[in-house]
């Protein structure tokens, strides 16, 4: 499984889940706002806030209460309308600003004319009409007007409907009322001449701020009738006449401090108070209310992308507090923003998102673990204890997977460290991020962070830098060979590290030390040189001698060429054989061996009159020797000396003891060894010594060097001051 595309999938999933949560929460909040689902709860808050800050009562409002003392004085209700007429007569004397009779005076009675006359005298008297629901003949309402005489005296129809909320509490007033859509609305009883500002919005109940219970000036009906109330108390005031006695008239609960029910007349007094004192509580329009309810929820939703889950907790609490405080503060400025939908939104969004996010993360984790197990063959162990929940089990599996990845990483690290050749792992920028012990050993410590290409270029010989850089820039599955400063040869392979989706992550540079192979290759070149030239040349010479026209065939020269080739072949084969054979020495007398070697060369030496003299000063010293190879080495040395000696020359083989070793010194009186050849004399296929007519080949001396090394000895060569070359073969004594 590709972790990066997996992460992208997870992000996509989160986005989709977020959109779902946002859409669902928004829909629910909108429904709550439009359906006023949280109104009961909001109203509780509203009522509590109202009780803290009641409105001030207008001192110009006077309530004439039909209270218990009045009933006691004037007899049981209903009273004759003549009594009301008498009251109005009395009030007319005091000249009040207006009089509102908060009673239904519907059926005509004989006293109506007197009352109507009194009303006319007062001029500004308001009486309500009654609206009965449901109406007859399929109408929504039936209007029950006051008695005709009274209606005439009052002049206009007004309603006194009380706007009761669903919980039975009165918080607002409807400033006009339309019986149906066709007829114009009737103004509220208390609006008097002040027409409602806007129609039809006046139909909507408008919330008002109530004054505290019994804060309006109130006088008893009977007291006024008896003239016990001074005129000054009435003059210029707006007088409301209504029932306050218990069990008489309508009473409703209102949001004021001492609770209880408020008589209808006092509610109307409050409406009048609100109208004059502007004690209205505005509410936002539906669209604004929606916006205000959605805002906190969206703020929270957006914060999910930015803020860590723990901080989101605090944010939710802070936003809830802010919403509540905002509602209360707004109420102080006569604006009521119901906090319910916003709080509900917050309460909804947070767990909803938490749930969906957990689900998405869990699904992702399950999918990733399953694919990891399937594709990477990581056995993820058991599903954890059966009593733990799903997420806990997944977490357990995740822990197992992480453990295994750690193991895998260690495994990879160990594998890299265990590689015998240097390996460098570099990132996209070309910087080394991982090395192994071989690399540290080859290029020094603290490679991490260095530029891989520059490092490799720095160890290359100048000639190889450009091709190396070109290769590193475009490896393309090939490899490159280069030579380092220390004459070691490397094969460099650069492999791209690609992630599962194919994108480049970095490079591995693997170096193989092919110094030995390169040397073997060079030696093979030299061997081919030997075969192609040194072995062919004598054969060609023989053929030339045989093909000579006239005269006798020069047997001597042919034999010499043939022997030369034979020696070369023998040395070549012996050298190859010796390298494969284990060293198995036996005691051999060095001087005896040297003598026999010299004896075997006698025919050749004798031909050219060269005398080979073996001098033994070693007193039959034994060396631990491989007889055959050491014999051949001695033969090679003496043969060489004979070859480079002048005719009738002398070769001395001096066997001596020196520092616990046997020394075999082979001296000739030839022209010595050329200075440029001397250092490379014992290398394989070294070229011939100069200044002689005889062509020699280096294989013989190389063989001697190999034999000396095999016996734990050494071979050196020098030019003697008195002329001629000296080869000194040193071999350890046999104990």
């Amino acid at each position: 499984m590709n972790s990066r595309s997996g992460a992208a999938g997870l992000r996509r999933r989160f986005r989709i889940e977020w959109i779902w949560v946002a859409a669902l929460a928004s829909a629910i909040i909108a429904a709550v706002v439009l359906g006023h689902w949280t109104q009961p709860a909001d109203d509780l808050l509203y009522d509590a806030a109202m009780r803290i800050a009641p409105a001030e009562a207008d001192p110009d409002i006077l309530i004439i209460a039909i209270d218990e003392p009045s009933l006691a004085t004037l007899g049981r209700w209903p009273w004759p309308r003549s009594l009301h007429a008498a009251l109005l007569e009395r009030l007319a004397l005091a000249r009040p600003e207006s009089v509102t009779i908060d009673m239904l005076l519907s059926e005509p009675t004989p006293d109506d004319s007197a009352l109507a006359a009194a009303m006319l005298r007062l001029d500004r008297v308001f009486i309500p009409a009654q609206f009965v629901q449901p109406g007859r003949n399929g109408q929504a309402y039936d209007r029950i007007d006051p008695a005709p005489a009274l209606l005439r005296a009052a002049g206009s129809v007004r309603h006194a409907n009380t706007a009761i909320d669903r919980d039975g509490t009165v918080r607002s007033a409807a400033l006009c009322f339309a019986q149906d859509k066709t007829t114009p609305p009737y103004p509220h009883l208390m609006t008097q001449e002040r027409r409602p500002a806007r129609w039809p919005s006046c139909q909507q109940p408008a919330r008002l701020r109530f004054a505290a219970q019994e804060s309006f000036a109130t006088v008893s009906y009977s007291s006024v009738l008896r003239g016990e109330v001074p005129d000054a108390l009435i003059t210029g005031r707006r007088v409301l006449i209504g029932m306050t006695a218990q069990g008489l008239g309508d009473r409703y609960p209102v949001p004021v401090s001492d609770g209880g029910n408020m008589p209808g007349v006092e509610i109307n007094a409050n409406i009048a108070n609100a109208l004059t004192g502007r004690h209205w509580v505005r509410q936002p329009e539906t669209s604004a209310a929606l916006l205000l309810a959605l805002a906190p929820a969206w703020l929270l939703l957006l914060s999910f992308w930015r803020i860590r889950p723990r901080s989101v907790n605090l944010l939710v609490v802070a936003m809830a507090v802010t919403v509540l405080a905002g509602s209360i503060i707004a109420l102080a400025f006569n604006l009521w923003i119901a906090p319910g939908p916003a709080l509900l939104g917050l309460a909804l969004v947070y767990p909803l998102w938490g749930w969906r996010r957990l689900q998405a993360a869990s699904d992702y984790m399950a999918g990733e673990l399953a694919s990891l197990e399937r594709e990477e063959a990581l056995p993820l162990g058991g599903a954890g204890p059966a009593d733990s929940d799903h997420v806990t089990r997944q977490a357990g599996q995740l822990a197992d997977a992480i453990d295994q990845l750690r193991d895998l990483k260690r495994f990879v690290g160990d594998t890299l460290a265990g590689l015998p050749d240097p390996a460098l792992v570099s990132d996209m920028a070309g910087r080394i991020v991982l090395t192994n012990a071989a690399a540290d050993g080859a290029f020094g410590k603290s490679l991490i962070g260095q530029d891989a290409a520059s490092l490799l270029a720095s160890i290359t010989v100048p000639l190889g830098t450009e091709p190396l850089r070109a290769y590193l820039a475009n490896p393309g599955g090939r490899h490159i060979e280069f030579e380092a400063h220390d004459r070691r040869h490397f094969v460099l392979r650069r492999a791209a590290i690609a992630s599962a989706d194919g994108s480049l992550r970095g490079h591995i540079d693997y170096l193989t030390d092919i110094t030995e192979i390169a040397e073997a290759r060079a030696e093979r070149e030299r061997m081919l040189q030997l075969l192609s030239h040194d072995m062919r040349a004598p054969q060609a010479a023989i053929l030339a001698l045989i093909g000579q026209q006239g005269g006798e065939i020069d047997r001597v020269r042919i034999a010499r060429h043939a022997r030369h080739t034979l020696t070369l072949a023998d040395n070549f084969v012996d050298l190859a054989r010796m390298q494969e054979r284990p060293f198995d020495p036996e005691p051999v007398i060095a001087a005896d061996l040297a003598s026999e070697a010299a004896d075997s060369l006698w025919p050749i030496a004798q031909q050219r009159g060269v005398q080979v003299l073996v001098v033994d000063d070693s007193d039959c010293a034994f060396v631990a020797a491989e007889r055959e190879s050491l014999f051949r080495a001695c033969v090679n040395l003496i043969d060489n000396a004979v070859k480079y000696s002048p005719d009738l020359g002398r070769v001395t083989v001096h066997v001596d003891l020196a520092e616990g070793a046997v020394q075999i010194a082979v001296r000739d009186d030839g022209q010595g060894i050329a200075a440029d050849i001397l250092p490379r004399l014992f290398e394989r296929f070294a070229s011939a010594r100069t200044g002689t007519t005889v062509k020699g080949i280096g294989l013989g001396l190389n063989y001697v060097a190999a034999v000396a090394a095999r016996h734990g000895g050494s071979i050196t060569a020098r030019n003697r001051p008195e002329g001629g070359a000296e080869f000194l073969l040193t071999l350890p004594l046999d104990e």
């Binding site: 047997r555 001597v556 034999a559 022997r563 005691p587 051999v588 007398i589 001087a591 005896d592 003598s595 026999e596 010299a598 004896d599 006698w602 025919p603 050749i604 004798q606 031909q607 033994d616 039959c620 034994f622 007889r627 055959e628």
Partner: protein, 237 residues
Amino acid sequence: MRIAIADDDGTSLNFLENVVIGMGHICAKFNDGERLSAALLRDTFDLVMLDWNMPGKTGLQVVQWMQTTLEAPPPVIMLTARTAKRDITDALNAGADDYICKPEEDGVIAARIAAVLRRTSGGASTDKIAEYGGYRLDRMAQTIRHQGAEVVLTAKEFELADLLFRNRDRTLSRAYIMETIWRTSADLATRTLDMHISRVRSKLSLKPENGYRIFTVFGYGYRLETIDPAKDQAATE
């Protein structure tokens, strides 16, 4: 002289050994033909006495094998209970030098051995004075003169030089030399032999210039080679 005896019958083997030792020779005993063949490859004998019926290889097979494999096969005396004329002719035709029908008296056997040895080793061993090129050996005085000058040798060195000269151009195994000179079959003296060879070589100046060279046959023994200048010229040119 060093004589190899091969017989699968222990009694017969011991009887023959007593005869040989009684004659003053050295004896090497073998139980079967295979072991004898192996020994013949890496050792030198002056005479081989073969029983016809042996496990591994019969006497006749060993004789035939010796003739085809060995460079210089030693003389062979066949010893067997077979008396058929055909068997005798087969053995002699295969390469045996003599044929003894068992049982036979020890005196007769000794005489037959002496006769074969006399025929094959030329009888020079008994000469008092022998000359080989520039070397003159006096066996009585146990001295050697080279180019007229006397070379001082120890008794063993003289014996070794005498052995080499008498068997010149014949490869002698180390065991043969040691048993002949030192009368021992234990090879404790391997260095001793090397040192004696080395001393004889240097004291007598046995080198090609003087017509002789001691040649070490690796893994086997030594050979004193006579150098024929004319022949050498031909071989090397």
